[in-house]
Symmetry: C2
Subunit: 195 residues, 2 copies
Amino acid sequence: MAGREGPRPGGRSARVQASVHAAVQALMTRMERAAITIPAIAAEAGVTPSTIYRRWGDIQELLADVAVERLKPDMVPIDTGNGGNDLLAWAEQYAEEMSSKPGREMIRDVLASQDGSGAYQCCNFTRQQIEVITARAQLRGEGFPDVDTVMDRVVSPIMYRILFGEAPDAAHVARLVAGAMELVSPARASVDEPA
Amino acid sequence: MAGREGPRPGGRSARVQASVHAAVQALMTRMERAAITIPAIAAEAGVTPSTIYRRWGDIQELLADVAVERLKPDMVPIDTGNGGNDLLAWAEQYAEEMSSKPGREMIRDVLASQDGSGAYQCCNFTRQQIEVITARAQLRGEGFPDVDTVMDRVVSPIMYRILFGEAPDAAHVARLVAGAMELVSPARASVDEPA
């Protein structure tokens, strides 16, 4: 049973997963990531190393699994009363969190995994946040770009620059959001969009 | 002396680098990437393992270095006689190459390196290609978006989808290119742009 698929809550398997995840996070606060080994994690979690090898295969897959868990959004996007401003507030926070040292390490761990499912899940977490903003805009009767447009015009350039160069500054994020919002025909948009 | 900075051509250091790079590439054709070790590379290259450790530190940095070399573009973007079509042809090829198995592995190797300079160099290779297309469009007197716009609207979404989901299809790439070209004011654009 792969940890990432989510074992039955409260079961033995779930308790092992929770304690191994907690052990990884505890070690990360005390030592350099590159120095963390499976025996050290096992000792911290109170399980045998073979439990970890059996379940995750290697440390890269375990680190990816922990990173995916940590990248799961823990809040609903802020409701500013306007879709364009909701998207701007969300994008600013996303750029800030992902470009932080822990953010970059989590992304790196997810992408280093041979199994691409973690990266796919992270992308889905992001899509779900955009869908919340979209649904609210639609309820208010506002025009709002579709999720793929927001992924292409806002999320992708933020992530590309974090991975391959420098994190975009606030002015750049605002331009990206404006570039996504410009696709909404003015006839459908019932509220102001950010400049 | 770091391999990535480029040793004096023809010098001893350059010959070591070339033979180690060739050894990595030869091993990659014969075995799974995950099974490649520094001692195996050293044996193939005819150098001692300590030569490799001294120069690259660990296998991850060596693989990143080899990947950056391989990601260096070996041709000038095709000249179709029109900036929009040049960009479309280039973007289709970029999406195809980067989403191939070797392409994905090279990107993964570059991003897995602790040293971010490889990722930065890859981004620069891409910018240089766009600059060639831009310069040709300007010589022809065509309007053409600036390099940052092309990076944000075309390159970033292609790379994001390759890393976090599925590679974009040809129709999607064409939409991305059209989305970058739409920023060129019609007054400045002297030729047709792709629909």
